[in-house]
């Protein structure tokens, strides 16, 4: 494969930028949460690319841990969102402004 490290990091950076766009553009908490997952995923891709091109195993192990932590984080975050919806009947961030009033 003649594709270099820079191409993979470019894709990972663009993926991160798209996730960031989702976080600041969207109002739905669930979609914001999915965009956060996308940013984590972009970091995973960059770590695997660095690990492959530096010929070490450490990046792959980091990705392993990131996937585990992301799964735990999704479970807790979605439980919080469900609890929020149960109390406020909405998950839109522009309706959840009780602290600023």
């Amino acid at each position: 494969m003649t594709v270099g490290l820079n191409a993979f990091i470019l894709v990972a950076g663009l993926l991160f930028a798209i996730g960031f766009l989702g976080v600041i553009l969207r109002k739905n908490t669930l979609v914001i949460y999915m965009s956060l997952e996308l940013m984590l995923n972009a970091v995973n891709l960059a770590l695997v690319a660095f690990s492959r091109y530096n010929n070490t195993m450490d990046g792959n192990l980091f990705v392993f841990f990131i996937i585990t932590v992301a799964a735990a984080e999704v479970a807790v975050g979605l439980a919080i969102i469900v609890a929020l919806f149960r109390r406020r009947q909405t998950v839109m961030v522009d309706h959840l402004n009780a602290l600023s009033r």
Binding site: N6, S35, L45, R52, N55, A72, V76, V91
Partner: protein, 180 residues
């Protein structure tokens, strides 16, 4: 051949991610997200991290996105958000921020003065055993070696984190008397 595959998979991943961010329907967004995760798994295969590719499909595209879809359909939250493309100020400022990051990334990793480019080294099929630095291998055996030698403490901490997350979810989602 592999180069063409890289371009195809990166295009699929980026377009699916963009569709996820821009689609007004959250269920369609979750579907695009699955496509994006599978594209990333394909790029892991191109980088010869086969174990992580399988893990990505199983955990992210499988478990995590099923959980997301379950919550999206359970809460039925699509009603309120048709108008996120109508707020011109938010739209313009978000896209300006996106363009800034994109230009930064493109100028750092593409074009004339990009980062130094190391060549691909040949991959060992089998790990030789424990050592200070374990070289990149395609077999999942080297994950075991690393997890139980160099990364023993993070491994234990991750296990404890999973336990804490499980108990936390049970506590958070329990119905309280004064809540309802």
């Amino acid at each position: 051949m592999l180069d063409i595959l890289f371009y195809v998979f990166s295009a699929v991943t980026l377009i699916a991610a963009l569709l996820m961010v821009l689609s007004p329907n959250a269920v369609n967004g979750a579907m695009c997200m699955i496509v994006s995760f599978v594209g990333t798994a394909a790029m892991f295969v191109l980088l010869e991290a086969y174990f992580l590719a399988i893990l990505q499909v199983l955990v992210y595209a499988g478990a995590v996105m099923v959980l997301f879809l379950f919550i999206i359909m359970l809460l039925d939250v699509d009603k309120g958000e048709c108008g996120f493309l109508k707020d011109k100020l938010t739209l313009a400022s978000s896209f300006v921020g996106f363009a800034l990051i994109a230009v930064l990334v493109c100028s750092a990793f593409a074009g004339a003065n990009h980062l130094p480019e190391p060549g691909l080294m040949p991959v060992l099929e089998n790990p030789t055993g424990s050592g200070a630095g374990i070289p990149f291998t395609t077999s999942s055996k080297s994950f075991g070696y690393s997890l139980f030698t160099k990364y023993m403490l993070p491994f234990q901490v991750t296990g404890f984190l999973l336990l804490a997350a499980m108990i936390g979810v049970i506590v958070v989602s329990k119905k309280t008397e004064e809540g309802k």
